[in-house]
Symmetry: C2
Subunit: 236 residues, 2 copies
DNA sequence: CTAACTTTGTATCCTAACGACGCATTTGCC
DNA sequence: GGCAAATGCGTCGTTAGGATACAAAGTTAG
């Protein structure tokens, strides 16, 4: 009875058109006050020379998020990094080899933490601003993820994933300025984050700076809980 | 040369695992101060009796957004409605008939506009609050879309898609209160929208209300342009 | 060593937005 | 006409955000 309906469903599903499914990871980093993206030389001869995102097909019984984490782990050796689904790209002609749907994931990681096995894989960091053209529709994907990041970083403490464990307020501000493409007043920025009460003063100071060193802080992930938006968040 | 590389790519793509791909539409409506969702009795015997979202598989050469628009058109007869991609759901076991990936789209539409062909299709509106269980993982999908809507409606003028062309400020406030699950001060709400200068006074009044009628307004889509967020949008 | 320079860190002032609330006005209903 | 219910307008106090002043700490050039 039940088994019959399951069989019927299986038959139905078998009649569906099927498409290959991939995951592409837009991996952002931050160094020298610049937003970076991790890219690799495309492995397709068709795109000879062009750069592309890190991606792979989704395995048969693999969850989508797991696929994205797997790619990150395989390519960078990193575990436990921030990762979030952003959007699906599925134009019928986006892949030269036939239709391929891809799910874009955005990831943020601390460059210092994984300076490893970069070059052996033809993998490297590129300034986001300098990216002109990529293989497939990857330029479009990167841009969507960047827009997503700009928006998200203002309402959620993601930025800290891009910084070292301990950072100065100036580094934090440089991060925000680089991502949002604006300049802000140093003192108001400080005031803002001080009032949020989410930074831990480590009682350590910057080293190797050629001017007055600033205090180093850590982000207090424990203390953070999503603020309940007051209704008057209505703002458009 | 080029043809060779194209052939090679085709062969590569052919080796990818393939999955059926569907689109599911979460269609919100608003009536009697309540947020509604358009649901249909599942066409699978497996889910006998349970309700499900409006969905269909994506055709071979069909763009994803087009598929979502097609479903809306087919099922509701509506064109030109608001529609946006929200998230992909791809747990390997989310469909009883085998793996099926689905892309959730969120749509908002004015119930008055399409009171048509509802019942002939076993299609009907249900209070969002009363939805307890749905076929597949559709409950989870609806909830994600609802969360998406709550967030989105505060920063983008979507709500007007759920209202008649002409509406009173009370109706507008009821909409926001229903979706955000809060109560707001009537006078501040009025002040807020007045200051935004996006409502056109139609010089008409409500009809058929059992108390003092309010003015009717229209939303001025032309005048709206996305506000540039001041940096200090940082708020978490 | 000292003066000039750079950057950090704290405090103050002003304005605009927001939340709370008072109240007169307009309609329906008895 | 009087009451209830909702609309429409205004005011007041608080607060967050932007601009600016200035002292403190450390580096570099003479």
């Amino acid at each position: 009875m039940k088994k019959n309906s399951v069989n019927a469903v299986h038959h139905l599903v078998d009649t569906y058109p099927k498409v290959p499914l991939t995951v592409d990871c837009v991996i952002f980093g931050f160094e020298e006050s610049k937003l970076k993206v991790l890219l690799i030389k495309s492995d397709l001869a068709f795109f000879q020379g062009k750069l592309s995102l890190l991606g792979d097909f989704v395995k048969n019984n693999e969850d989508l998020d797991d696929a994205a984490y797997r790619i990150l782990k395989e390519r960078t050796g990193m575990n436990n990094v921030f990762l979030d689904q952003v959007k699906v790209f599925g134009k019928p002609d986006r892949h030269p080899g036939g239709r391929v749907i891809t799910i874009a994931y955005c990831s943020l990681l601390n460059i210092q933490h994984h300076a490893l096995n970069i070059h052996e894989n033809e993998l490297d960091w590129y300034d986001y601003d300098a990216i002109k053209e990529l293989a497939f529709d990857h330029k479009e994907i990167v841009d969507e993820c960047y827009a997503w990041l700009q928006k998200r970083i203002q309402e959620h403490p993601l930025g800290f994933n891009l910084l070292p464990d301990k950072f100065s307020l100036r580094e934090l501000q440089n991060l925000y300025e680089a991502i949002l493409g604006v300049t802000m007043d140093r003192r108001n920025f400080r005031k803002k984050f001080a009032s949020m009460d989410l930074l831990i003063d480590t009682n350590e100071m910057e080293q190797d700076v050629s001017h007055r060193p600033g205090k180093l802080y850590q982000f207090n992930f424990n203390k953070y809980e999503k603020k309940k938006r007051k209704w008057i968040g209505i703002d458009f």
